[in-house]
């Protein structure tokens, strides 16, 4: 039984949307069920590697209903299968459960999503900014953040040699 069939039978009561494009098998899951589904895929369907966590801001996307899509690419190192799990979260407080307890690779990947999109992950052990400085206030990969910046650099306090 493929992982998708297993998902269909196990979570038959939920709204899962299955699709395929080229060789990507994709499932869109409701955010409330995300952790349960990912835990099922890891523990019972041998998807033992989390290759990628990323987010997309659908603010300017034609026909999109939700603001953020968060994407998990799972890999089974035994069968070589891949499964792309996607879920949607919305403003004002985008929040998802952290999957750090399932895969440790989620640690920095979720931190980057938080840093770039401002999506918080509850249960993450150390959710700090990772690529931008701690005092940075914006989320640069959001679509309402302009390409050329808002002048954060000019607002940084300048330390003189005497003060440092």
């Amino acid at each position: 039984m493929s992982a998708e069939d297993a998902l269909k039978s196990k979570f038959s009561g939920d709204e899962l949307a299955f699709s395929q494009f080229r060789d990507n098998h994709r499932v869109v899951v409701p955010a409330a069920k995300l952790f349960e589904i990912l835990a099922f895929l890891k523990n019972e369907q041998h998807f033992d590697m989390l290759a990628e966590v990323t987010a997309v801001d659908y603010l300017e996307y034609d026909g999109a209903k939700d603001r953020f899509g968060v994407v998990y690419v799972l890999v089974s190192t035994k069968s070589g299968e891949r499964l792309v799990i996607k879920t949607f979260v919305n403003d004002p407080e985008p929040l998802l459960p952290s999957v750090y307890s399932l895969w440790k690779s989620a640690d920095w990947l979720e931190r980057e999503v938080y840093d770039m999109f401002g999506i918080r992950f509850s249960g993450h052990p150390d959710l700090r900014r990772i690529l931008t400085p701690d005092e940075f206030t914006a989320y640069p990969l959001r679509k309402d953040y302009p390409l050329k910046g808002r002048g954060e650099r000019h607002n940084f306090p300048v330390l003189t040699r005497a003060e440092s």
């Binding site: 990507n24 990628e52 997309v56 190192t77 895969w103 440790k104 690779s105 640690d107 920095w108 990969l141």
Partner: protein, 406 residues
């Protein structure tokens, strides 16, 4: 374990006042680029390491949303600048998968040769500098001389030694000629001798072995759980290589082995990389003698492809298509879809997640950089090692900061 806040509180306790804090980097010769580590030391033993990254963050992914599929290639080859052409091949692999373009056989072989040359180039630098950091200067020089030859080969093909921007949607910028084939042949012929010489210099060198053997151990389970791929995972016994598992380009036609080791330490990684170079040479040998004839770019009937120069200058159809592809306000239609596509880069799984909104520009161009995933492992494997091992482990992880921070 990756860094946890509770760890730090424990280390701050009054009875732990004898611990030292050492700032390693961002400017340090052994970090090669700008990495920063905060090490907590008990004498010379590292009890905790906290990486601070982002010094080279330059918003590549944001730029990817504003450049079209051909233009962004100039940015991706600045990510892992040790093997720039491989990033381009990976990026266009993802784009072509999105657009549904099947490459010509000649282009597949050509890209395979270039990808393997890049793998050799990356492993040459990595094993060379790993030895250099540990005090073995000679191997580094021998290997860098081979890298020069690869630069020459790449320059002959693309006109650029380093940031080549050579691939295009559906092909490459220029076809190669016989002079290029001869250069690759002579490189392949001369490489084995240098490789054997470095083997003699390092592999059974007692000083080198004592610095790397048993250092930086990573188990197979941890590799899988922490998303580690590429030579690092294979050195721990994870038999996973996208060239075999999800074949792309010309790899299904070729005969090569997946190199793996069991030990999972720095020495195993060194051995895996050394042997992978031999396998790459085997692949290049097979490809270079069997490059198919024919066009290198896919047929210009596909709207996304830049037409050949003669047809631009001599036919109105070619000129129109060139105009359509090149002008920023024109462009072609791409499927309104999302795709994740990955290739086996020298460093591990290099993936791109592209969201397209129907324009020739990505709506979101996410890179899954192997260095980023691998550096997250560092705090765990350095624990309870000596300070001098930090350099050995960093060298064996092959962290490229430009790819790490993007």
């Amino acid at each position: 374990m990756p860094f946890e806040v509770s760890d730090l509180a424990e280390l701050d306790a009054p009875d732990k006042e004898y611990l030292w804090t050492l700032n390693f980097g961002p400017q340090h010769p052994a970090t090669h680029t700008t990495l920063r580590l905060i090490l907590t030391l008990d004498g010379e033993t590292v009890v905790n390491a906290v990486p601070h990254i982002g010094y080279l963050h330059s918003g590549f992914e944001k730029l990817g949303e504003h450049l079209d599929f051909n233009q962004y290639v100039t940015i991706v080859d600045r990510m892992n600048y040790i093997s720039p052409l491989h990033n381009e091949i990976s990026w266009h692999h993802a784009v072509e998968k999105l657009l549904g373009i099947e490459l010509t056989p000649r282009c597949k072989y050509l890209r395979t040769i270039l990808a393997e040359l890049m793998r050799i180039q990356d492993h040459l630098l990595n094993t060379g500098t790993c030895a250099l950091d540990l005090g073995g200067f000679t191997a580094f020089l021998y290997f860098f001389q081979q890298r020069e030859l690869i630069y020459d080969i790449v320059e002959t093909a693309s006109g650029q030694r380093f940031h080549t921007s050579y691939t295009r949607v559906g092909g490459v910028a220029f076809d190669v000629n016989n002079a290029w084939v001869d250069k690759v042949r002579s490189f392949v012929k001369g490489f084995a001798a240098v490789h054997a010489e470095v083997h003699r210099l390092l592999t059974r060198n007692r000083i080198f072995i004592e610095r790397v053997k048993g250092i930086g151990y990573l188990s197979a389970e941890d590799c899988i759980n922490m998303g580690v791929t590429g030579p690092l995972a294979r050195a721990s016994g994870v038999l996973r290589d996208l060239r075999k598992d999800e074949p792309y380009l010309a790899y299904p036609d070729l005969d090569f082995k997946v190199v793996a080791a069991k030990d999972g330490d720095c020495y195993a990684r060194y051995l895996v990389r050394m042997q992978e170079m031999v396998e790459s040479i085997k692949i290049i040998e097979q490809c270079i003698e069997n490059i198919p004839e024919g066009p290198v770019n896919v047929d210009a009937g596909s709207k996304a492809v830049i037409p050949a120069k003669p047809s631009v200058y001599r036919s109105i159809e070619g000129l129109i298509q060139h105009f359509e592809v090149m002008m920023p306000n024109r462009g072609f239609a791409s499927p309104k879809e999302e795709i994740y596509a990955a290739t086996e880069s020298p460093n591990g799984e290099l993936g791109y997640y592209i969201v397209s909104d129907g324009t020739p520009r990505a709506y979101r161009a996410r890179t899954r950089p192997p260095s980023y995933i691998h550096f997250a492992v560092f705090p765990q494997i350095i624990k309870n090692h000596q300070l001098s091992d930090v350099v050995a482990v960093l060298g064996s992880l092959n962290i490229i900061a430009a790819e790490l921070d993007r």
